[in-house]
């Protein structure tokens, strides 16, 4: 019976998957080969779950101050100890995870979109417009990322939003460069000429025919950039220029712990580990993604 069933299913015309579904399947296979990338991917999923669900499960208020228990080490009551105000570190890190990760992701999305649009326009139209845009991008690239962010924050003022704005601005050049390069190679393919010959508008060509074909480098760059955005966000908060206390942003937590390193190392240690975990997860995942999406490694 089961053999017959197997036969009848084999006879049915096999539904061929579209390139999207096919590429997702292919992609997972390749990603699965790269064990560390898979670990990175699962780690990211885990961090997301913790960041989203975690705050509802913790019993304490992250800002609840209890001077009776300050500087306490890890215990059954306070899993990761308490800080100099007696706030529960575990609760604060769980809450901070969400803040830090959302800064990284939102900034990458905003900066990524701006960079992709810039790159598409620059690459597609070329000529003088391209020259002007790319020189502006070069200027942005000439600043070290964190310095640019510092300068922007000192103009805009320190707040959660401004950290995101600063980081998205320094995300623009990397995205613009990558997208411009890919656009240049795709726009010379014959099907783009065919669309032009059909009378398609530039907008249609860019959105429907170029963008879908250059998505993979963009996705890779985004996942790698989230890691550096997280690092910059916590860096800025550590310097006191980012998210303001008492908000439990991971960089700010690290900065809080700095003064008590010798007496209560755990206050700095655990936020630091949390930042490291996020950055590591996105970096490993991004590297694996690059290998999986790179057609040159295709066997």
């Amino acid at each position: 019976m089961s053999a017959e069933q197997a036969n009848s299913t084999a006879l049915k015309p096999k539904k061929v998957d579209g390139p999207l579904k096919r590429s997702i399947k292919d992609f997972y296979k390749k990603l699965a080969k790269n064990k560390s990338a898979l670990v990175g991917g699962y780690l990211i999923i885990f961090l997301f779950i913790v960041a989203i669900v975690g705050p509802f499960l913790t019993t304490q208020d992250p800002d609840f101050i209890d001077y009776g228990v300050k500087f306490e080490g890890p215990s059954a009551e306070h899993w990761l100890g308490t800080d100099h105000h007696g706030r529960d570190m575990f609760t604060r890190i769980i809450h901070g995870l969400g803040i830090t990760m959302s800064i990284g992701i939102i900034a990458t999305i905003i900066g990524g979109i701006a960079g992709v649009i810039t790159g598409l326009i620059s690459g597609y139209y070329g000529g003088k417009l391209d020259a002007v845009i790319m020189r502006l991008i070069d200027i942005l690239l000439a600043f070290p990322g964190i310095l640019l962010a510092l300068a922007l924050i000192s103009i805009l003022g320190a707040s959660l939003q401004n950290v995101m704005i600063a980081i998205s601005i320094f995300a623009i050049p990397t995205f613009a460069r990558i997208v411009r390069g890919s656009t240049l190679s795709v726009k010379n393919l014959e099907y783009i000429d065919a669309m032009k010959a059909l009378g398609a508008s530039d907008f249609r060509i860019i959105c429907k025919h170029i963008l879908p074909n250059i998505l993979s480098p963009i996705i890779v760059q985004a996942s790698l950039f989230i890691a550096s955005a997280v690092l910059s966000a916590s860096g800025l908060s550590f310097l006191g220029l980012g998210v303001q206390p008492p908000s439990p942003e991971l960089g700010a937590l690290l900065s809080d712990g700095r003064d008590f390193m010798w007496d209560a190392g755990h206050i700095a240690l655990y936020p630091g580990l949390a930042i490291m975990l996020i950055v590591l997860a996105f970096n490993i995942f991004g590297d694996g993604l690059r290998d999986a999406l790179d057609p040159k490694i295709n066997k």
Binding site: P19, L189, E190, Y191, D193, A194, K196, A197, R204
Partner: protein
């Protein structure tokens, strides 16, 4: 019967600037197409042959305004294409379509065949929205594909089938003129024949006009009514198929034709071997552009540019650009 001119190209020039120096000034030009004129009559197939880099494809692209020509006029069905604004040109593109050489690069890998065809109709707004899918199926069947393959992606087809999809895309907007830019060169010989026969069939059924760019003389002989021979950006000879193959006038055409293999080992062929390379189109030779390689070249050829001429012993509509056609014909001038 008076033949109707569908497309008239007058003194077309296409120069591509070479930028150099710190300020990106134009230091020189690649003269890809230099002063080319011809006309295409409705319902015929006009082929252009010539070696790589002689400006065949550039001429095709200029007609479509995929590259803006440097100079000249292109008149299509009474309207000057070069004077049209971008949006007017967009509407006009319905009548002029193109089939490309590489069937692997000419289809967007992320669209199904149906989407490709429906999008073409959508851009030119040719068929009522609801009937577009039905029309796409019809077109697929016209080009010899199965209507059931409409939801497949390009990667699921072979090269010949993909080329048929390219043809279907061009047909979907109901064009008058189709420019076939080396449309069969990337296919193997048996598939070439199928695609050529399909093109011929479509031409008859839909009253299409073809501007056929090729380098394979066998293909050209099979499909053309008239043939243009180009060399280094210039037309050297233009004639109907029979006159060109039977009575070639220009030394370059003769050399080109002598290179066609004959499938009979008994026949002794006189092969005209050209020496040297094609000169650079950046700095083409003065006078006749072919004089550097021509076995008949004289001092005159080095200074004077020959015009296209029709002589008594040639058919009507046959003309060639050589100073010494008469002498070569009479045997007064011998190859060196």
């Amino acid at each position: 019967m008076q033949k109707k001119e569908l497309l008239k190209v007058n003194n077309l020039k296409q120069y591509f600037p070479i930028k150099g120096g710190f300020l990106g000034r134009t230091v020189n030009n690649v003269k890809a197409v230099d002063d080319v004129s011809f006309e295409i009559y409705e319902g015929e197939t006009l082929s252009v042959v010539g070696e790589s880099g002689c400006g065949k494809s550039t001429t095709g692209r200029a007609i479509l305004r995929l590259d803006e020509p440097t100079e000249g006029a292109i008149e299509f069905d009474g309207t000057d294409l070069l004077s049209l604004s971008k949006s007017e040109m967009r509407k006009k593109r319905k009548d002029l379509q193109v089939i490309f050489q590489d069937p692997y690069a000419s289809l967007n890998p992320r669209q199904t065949v149906g989407k490709i065809l429906i999008e073409a109709m959508e851009i030119q707004n040719v068929v009522p929205r609801k009937q577009r899918r039905q029309r796409a199926i019809e077109i697929l069947e016209t080009v010899g594909l199965n209507g059931g393959q409409i939801d497949r992606y390009p990667h699921e087809f072979s090269g010949g089938q993909r080329q048929r999809i390219g043809i279907a895309r061009a047909l979907s907007v109901d064009p008058k003129l189709i420019i076939c830019d080396e449309a069969v060169s990337a296919l193997d010989v048996s598939v070439q024949a199928q695609v050529l026969n399909l093109l011929k069939k479509l031409q008859k059924e839909l009253n299409l006009t073809f501007f056929f760019i090729a380098h394979d003389l066998g293909v050209v002989r099979h499909i053309s009514d008239r043939i243009i021979v180009m060399y280094l950006g210039k037309v050297v000879e233009i004639a109907d198929k029979k006159s060109l193959f039977d009575n070639p006038q220009h030394p370059y055409t003769k050399a080109l034709l002598s290179a066609i293999p004959v499938p009979d080992p008994e026949i002794k062929k006189e092969r005209i071997i050209l020496t040297g390379d094609v000169p650079s189109p950046i700095d083409p030779p003065a006078g006749c552009r072919f004089h550097t390689r021509c076995p008949f070249a004289t001092e005159l050829c080095k200074t004077d540019v020959p015009e296209l001429r029709n002589l008594d012993h040639m058919q009507e509509g046959h003309s060639a650009a050589c100073h010494h056609m008469e002498k070569i014909m009479a045997g007064e001038l011998q190859p060196v």
